[in-house]
C-alpha cells in the first residue's frame, strides 16, 4: 500500500463526505479599521481533530482563534460550533477554552485555585471540584505544586498549569495560542508529544495556532496554512509537505528547490518542463497543468541525489559545482551552483559513518532525481 509521506492514517474524517463538520468558518471576514485581518475565509474542522493554524506573525491566525473564543466578533460571515451559530455569544458562555500564549495565570491564586477557577464559575459542587483539580494536577504531573503561586514555578510548569486550567472544564474545543512558544527547544519537543497524548486521552478537539512549522507538522492531524487572512491550503502534514498546492505553501513549509518554466505535456501525467538554459525536467506529477502553462517545478532537497559522476540511467541529471557544504551530523546539505547560475539545495542522510564518494567545495557534481520526486505547481 502506498501513502503520501511515511505514515498511514486511520483517522481522516475530512475524506468522509458524510462526516459532520464540528467547527465551521463560513466566509468569515474580520476588519480592524482599514486593516483586513481575515478575508472571506472558510474552514472546516472535525470532532477530535488536532488542527493547526500555521502562518507568519500577523497573518490573521490568532484572530481566527480569538473569534472562536469570542473575544472578537467577525465583521461578516458565520462561525458554527457543533451546528450552533456563535454570533453574539459572549466568551464566558462558549463551550470552548483557550490556553493563552502568555499563559495568563492568575498571579494571586495558587495553582490549585487557578485550575479550579473555571469549575467554580460553573457552580460545580466542592467535592467534585477537588476531585477534578486533583485529576488535572496528576495529568500534568504537578501534584506537589498545588499550593504554589504561579511566580514560584518554572516556565515549563506554568505552561502545564495553563494547560490543566484550560482542559479542566472539559471544553468541546481547546484553543491553544502558541502553546509552546515560550519554552526552550528541548522542552518544546517533549511537550509536543505530551500534548498529542493528552488530546488522544481526553478525546477533545484541539485548535492550535503556531508559527512553527515543525510544531504544526509534529502535532496536527491537519494544517491550515494562512497568509494575509486567507487559507492557502488545508491538508495533512504529509500532503502539505509532499503535495503543496502553491508556490507559497511549498516555500513556506520546509526547504524547496524551484524551477520556473513552461510545461509540455506527455501521456498519463508525464510532462517535461523547459526551465531554460538547456535544463529540461521530466516529471510524472504534472497534475492538471495544461501544455504551454507557466509552472514551477518544486522538489525537496532530500529528494535530490548528489554524486561526482553522472548516475547511469538517471532521467533527470544536471551538472554543477559544489559551492557550499553544511555538515549537520545526521545529514549533510550541499549547495550546488548549476552551470546556468541556478543554486540547488540537496541534502543527504548520513546513514553510514564513512562516505564512499566524498565531495568537497568547488568539485564538479551531478544532481539527479526521479521523475516522481517533485511536483508541478501552477499557482
Amino acid at each position: 500500500m502506498k501513502s503520501l509521506g511515511s505514515i498511514r492514517r486511520d483517522f481522516a474524517p475530512w475524506n468522509d463526505p458524510n462526516a459532520k463538520p464540528y467547527i465551521q468558518f463560513d466566509k468569515v471576514t474580520k476588519k480592524f479599521g482599514d486593516f483586513t485581518a481575515v478575508n472571506n475565509l472558510s474552514l472546516t474542522i472535525f470532532e477530535r481533530e488536532f488542527f493547526a493554524l500555521l502562518g507568519a506573525s500577523g497573518c490573521g491566525k490568532s484572530t481566527l482563534l480569538r473569534m472562536l473564543a469570542g473575544f472578537e466578533e467577525p465583521t461578516a460571515g458565520r462561525i458554527l460550533l457543533d451546528g450552533q451559530d456563535l454570533r453574539g455569544i459572549p466568551p464566558y458562555r462558549r463551550p470552548v477554552n483557550m490556553m493563552f500564549q502568555s499563559y495568563a495565570l492568575f498571579p494571586h491564586m495558587t495553582v490549585e485555585n487557578n485550575i479550579a477557577f473555571g469549575l467554580k464559575q460553573d457552580g460545580m459542587p466542592k467535592p467534585e471540584i477537588a476531585a477534578r483539580v486533583g485529576e488535572m494536577l496528576k495529568l500534568v504531573k504537578l501534584e506537589q505544586f498545588a499550593k504554589r503561586k504561579p511566580h514560584q514555578l518554572s516556565g515549563g510548569q506554568r505552561q502545564r498549569v495553563a494547560l490543566a486550567r484550560s482542559v479542566a472544564k472539559r471544553p468541546k474545543v481547546l484553543l491553544l495560542d502558541e502553546p509552546l512558544g515560550a519554552l526552550d527547544k528541548k522542552l518544546r519537543e517533549e511537550t509536543q508529544f505530551e500534548l498529542m497524548d493528552l488530546q488522544q486521552s481526553l478525546g477533545l478537539t484541539f485548535v492550535v495556532v503556531t508559527h512553527d512549522q515543525e510544531e504544526a507538522m509534529t502535532m496536527a492531524d491537519r494544517i491550515a496554512i494562512i497568509d494575509k487572512g486567507e487559507v492557502m491550503q488545508v491538508a495533512t502534514p504529509a500532503e502539505v509537505y509532499e503535495a503543496p498546492g502553491s508556490r507559497f505553501v511549498a516555500g513556506f513549509v520546509g526547504n524547496v528547490n524551484m524551477f520556473e518554466g513552461k510545461i509540455a505535456r506527455g501521456e498519463a501525467g508525464a510532462a517535461s518542463i523547459d526551465a531554460g538554459n538547456g535544463i529540461t525536467i521530466r516529471t510524472e506529477n504534472a497534475g492538471d497543468a495544461a501544455t504551454g502553462a507557466a509552472v514551477a517545478f518544486a522538489i525537496r532537497p532530500e529528494k535530490i541525489k548528489i554524486s561526482s559522476k553522472k548516475p547511469a540511467g538517471a532521467v533527470n541529471a544536471i551538472e554543477g559545482e559544489v559551492y557550499d557544504i553544511a555538515y549537520l551530523g545526521d545529514m549533510t546539505v550541499y549547495h550546488v551552483r548549476l552551470d546556468d547560475g541556478h543554486v540547488v539545495r540537496a541534502s543527504t542522510m548520513n546513514a553510514a559513518r564513512i562516505t564512499e564518494d566524498p565531495l568537497s567545495w568547488n568539485d564538479r557534481a551531478w544532481v539527479s532525481f526521479r521523475p516522481d520526486a517533485g511536483v508541478v505547481l501552477t499557482r
Binding site: 493563552f100 477557577f117 460553573d122 514560584q152
Partner: protein
C-alpha cells in the same frame, strides 16, 4: 639578596597593602555615606523636630518667650539640667483626656478622613481604571490632566470651592437656573463641603497609585477569566480588584493620613461648627498660645497615624514572607 633589600621589599609590600586597605575602607565609607544621607535627613528634619515637639508637650505653658517652661539650658550645669528635667510632666496628656473636646476632635477627624478616603476611592477607581484601559497614546495626556491641578496653589483651589459652594455660588446658580431646586442648597460650612474639598484635593494621590497598579495588569488575565466562564463584573471582582489591592492601599494611606490632620479644608469650607483635630491644634497654638498642649495634640496625632501604618506594614511583610 641583602637583608636591607628584603626589608625594603617588605616595607613596600606593606605600604601597598596599606594603600589597598585604605582604598577599600574609603570605598566602603562612600558606600555607607550614600545610605547615611537619607538617614541624616530623617534625623535632622524628622527625629530632632519630633523630639523638640515631644519635649514641649511635656512642658508647662508660661507667659514668656518661648511660651513654656522649663527651657532646657545646659548653662546651669548638670545638676541644673537634671532639676529642669524633673519639671517635665505628662500633665498635658492628662488634660487631653479630661476635656472631651480633644477626644471628639480626634474621633471626628478619623471619621471624616475615613469617609473622605472611601469617597475618593469610589471616585478615583473608575478614573484610574479608565486611564489604564485608554489607548496607550492617550495615557500620558490623561496622566498630565490628573497632575495639572498641582500647578495651581492648593489654597487658591480650596478658595475656589467657596465660590462654587456658597449659597449664591456657581453650583446653586446652576441648579436654580435649571430648575432642579427652588431653594439654594446649604453646602458651604457643612461636613459635605469638607468631603467635597478633601475628595477634590486628594484625588490625584488616589488615582496615581491605582493607575500604576492597574496599568501593569495583563489584560489577557481578564480574557482568561471570561474564557473560563466568568462574566465581566465578576471578573472585575475576582481578578482586577484583588490585583489592584496594593494600589488601593497605597492610595488610601496617601489620602487618609494627610486628611486626618487636614486644617485648611475644614477651616475654609467647614466653617466654625466643624470640629477637626487640625483646627483644634491650630487654635491651641495660635489662639490660645498654648504650645505644650498643642504639642501634645500633635504627638498623639502622630501616634494615632503611625500605629495603624506599622501594623499594616508588618502584616504585609508577613504576607510576602509566606509567599516565598
Amino acid at each position: 639578596m641583602s637583608n636591607a633589600a628584603v626589608t625594603a621589599a617588605a616595607t613596600s609590600q606593606a605600604t601597598d597593602a596599606g594603600k589597598s586597605a585604605l582604598a577599600r575602607l574609603s570605598a566602603a565609607f562612600i558606600g555607607r555615606l550614600v545610605i547615611i544621607i537619607p538617614y541624616l535627613w530623617l534625623v535632622f528634619f524628622f527625629l530632632i523636630p519630633f523630639i523638640i515637639v515631644f519635649k514641649i508637650s511635656l512642658s508647662q505653658t508660661a507667659i514668656a518667650i518661648p511660651p513654656y517652661t522649663p527651657v532646657l539650658d545646659f548653662g546651669d550645669g548638670l545638676s541644673g539640667f537634671l532639676a529642669q528635667l524633673k519639671q517635665l510632666s505628662i500633665d498635658n496628656y492628662t488634660w487631653l483626656t479630661q476635656d472631651a473636646l480633644y477626644f471628639n476632635a480626634y474621633v471626628t477627624s478619623v471619621i471624616v478622613a475615613a469617609i473622605s478616603t472611601v469617597l475618593t476611592l469610589l471616585v478615583g477607581y473608575p478614573i484610574a481604571y479608565g486611564m489604564a484601559r485608554a489607548p496607550a497614546t492617550l495615557r500620558p495626556t490623561l496622566l498630565m490632566l490628573v497632575i495639572l491641578p498641582f500647578w495651581t496653589s492648593f489654597l487658591i483651589r480650596v478658595y475656589a470651592w467657596i465660590g462654587i459652594l456658597k449659597p449664591e455660588g456657581l453650583l446653586n446658580q446652576l441648579l436654580l437656573a435649571t430648575g432642579v431646586i427652588s431653594q439654594p442648597l446649604i453646602v458651604l460650612n457643612t461636613y459635605t463641603a469638607i468631603f467635597i474639598g478633601i475628595v477634590y484635593s486628594y484625588l490625584p494621590f488616589m488615582v496615581l497609585p491605582l493607575y500604576s497598579s492597574l496599568e501593569k495588569m495583563d489584560y489577557s488575565l481578564i480574557e482568561a477569566a471570561k474564557d473560563l466562564g466568568c462574566p465581566p463584573t465578576s471578573a472585575f471582582w475576582k481578578i482586577t480588584f484583588p490585583l489592584s489591592v496594593p494600589g488601593v492601599i497605597a492610595g488610601c494611606l496617601l489620602v487618609f493620613i494627610p486628611a486626618v490632620g487636614e486644617f485648611v479644608i475644614p477651616d475654609l469650607l467647614g466653617g466654625s461648627q466643624t470640629l477637626m483635630i487640625g483646627k483644634t491644634l491650630w487654635n491651641e497654638f495660635f489662639a490660645n498660645r498654648d504650645w505644650p498642649v498643642s504639642s501634645a495634640v500633635a504627638v498623639i496625632l502622630l501616634l494615632l497615624l503611625i500605629v495603624p501604618i506599622m501594623l499594616f506594614q508588618r502584616a504585609q511583610a508577613r504576607a510576602q514572607e509566606q509567599d516565598k
